[in-house]
């Protein structure tokens, strides 16, 4: 009986211990996938980064300006930007994520037609901008106006939802390091978005991942770009503060 209890305690103890020690999903991938992410020549996310680099200098819209016309060399101007977002949007008086910011820049300053959130061009631009923060520690924006957003995100993270009645925290805090069928449950740190997912055979942002998780627990997804997802993203970035940005990340 005592032996039984011990086994149970170890069984429950392992994931909890892992949750105390933060790790990127990279750490739990197999050696082949890690090699794919590490080798620039083999990382399919680099296709989007390269596309984004071309879009960065391409003039667009009524203003006939490119991103580079205002921001110059992205290696200088965009270093650390992705590590800091979501940020406060003065014009909209609310929090905004990096993809939303790029979209706003496009419509407001370039006078160009809005791009769909999941369009290849917008994902490529976000991937290129994020690439400039590769290896930098996640450093959430210290603006105090974001505190309420993070609180809301934390509450959402801990709220059970859907027909399976699961909260994000049930898997990514309490059961992280455990198994969901053949997959190891990651801690859910958004270290490498937009990322190349083999499952998607393409690149996608964090909000697309949220949609997957939410439909997985049979909840009604909030929708990419929704205030709920931005709040969740703001909380997750503060939860992952200090972990290095991986751009572009590859995940199964």
């Amino acid at each position: 009986m005592i032996r039984c209890v011990t086994v149970l305690a170890i069984g429950l103890g392992t994931p909890a211990a892992a949750a105390g020690d933060r790790q990127s999903g990279y750490e739990i991938m197999g050696p082949e996938l890690r090699a794919m992410q590490d080798d620039e020549a083999a990382n399919p996310g680099m296709l989007w980064v390269t596309e984004g680099a071309a879009l960065w200098v391409a003039p667009e819209g009524a203003a006939n300006r490119s991103c580079a016309s205002c921001h110059g060399d992205a290696a200088q101007s965009m270093a650390g930007v992705a590590a800091r977002y979501p940020a406060w949007n003065e014009a909209g008086q609310g929090p905004i994520d990096l993809t939303g910011r790029i979209g706003l820049c496009r419509t407001r300053h370039q006078g160009a037609a809005a791009l769909a959130r999941d369009s290849r061009a917008l994902v490529a631009l976000a991937a290129f901008v994020t690439r400039q923060s590769d290896g930098l520690p996640i450093a959430p924006d210290p603006d105090p106006r974001l505190a309420a957003t993070r609180e809301k995100g934390k509450a959402l993270f801990e709220t059970r939802m859907g027909q399976l009645n699961l909260a994000c925290a049930d898997c990514h805090d309490d059961a992280a390091g455990g198994q969901l069928a053949a997959a190891t449950i990651p801690q859910g740190h958004p270290t490498g978005y937009p990322q190349y997912r083999l499952q998607w055979e393409g690149m996608g942002g964090l909000h697309r991942r949220f949609e997957n998780c939410m439909s997985g627990v049979r909840a009604e997804p909030f929708g990419a770009g929704s205030p709920e997802y931005i709040a969740l993203e703001a909380f997750l970035m503060s939860r992952a503060a200090g972990l290095p940005v991986e751009a572009p990340a590859v995940r199964p």
Partner: protein, 105 residues
């Protein structure tokens, strides 16, 4: 963006060099249905070739099981300074080629 090619630029004679290429392509299998319920026509890259100094040194047949954005890597022995040409055509009729000069010292 069509492809990312990775070949060393300058090597000594007799070196075995690795050629790596990542191609941006949907590799549509022909088994999937689109939003309107009809089958999306198959569009894969059925054949890939590599010429070194005009001579074929590598050829691959590719099948629908290969995922989108295929990555190919193979080796060749550098014997003379010549162009390495990578050629492929997809089933939608799009022809592509990439060429890199391999300098042998």
């Amino acid at each position: 963006m069509v492809a990312m090619v990775n070949i060393p630029e300058t090597v000594t004679a007799g070196t075995v060099v690795e050629v790596k290429i990542l191609i941006s392509h949907p590799m549509e299998t022909g088994f999937r249905t689109g939003p309107d319920g009809t089958l999306v026509p198959r569009n894969i890259i059925p054949e890939f070739r590599c010429l070194y100094g005009g001579e074929e040194v590598f050829r691959a047949e590719i099948f629908p099981a290969v995922a989108a954005n295929p990555f190919l890597s193979f080796f060749l022995r550098a014997e003379q300074t010549a162009e390495v040409e990578l050629l492929w055509t997809d089933e939608a009729g799009q022809e592509h080629s990439e060429a890199r000069l391999l300098t042998v010292q």
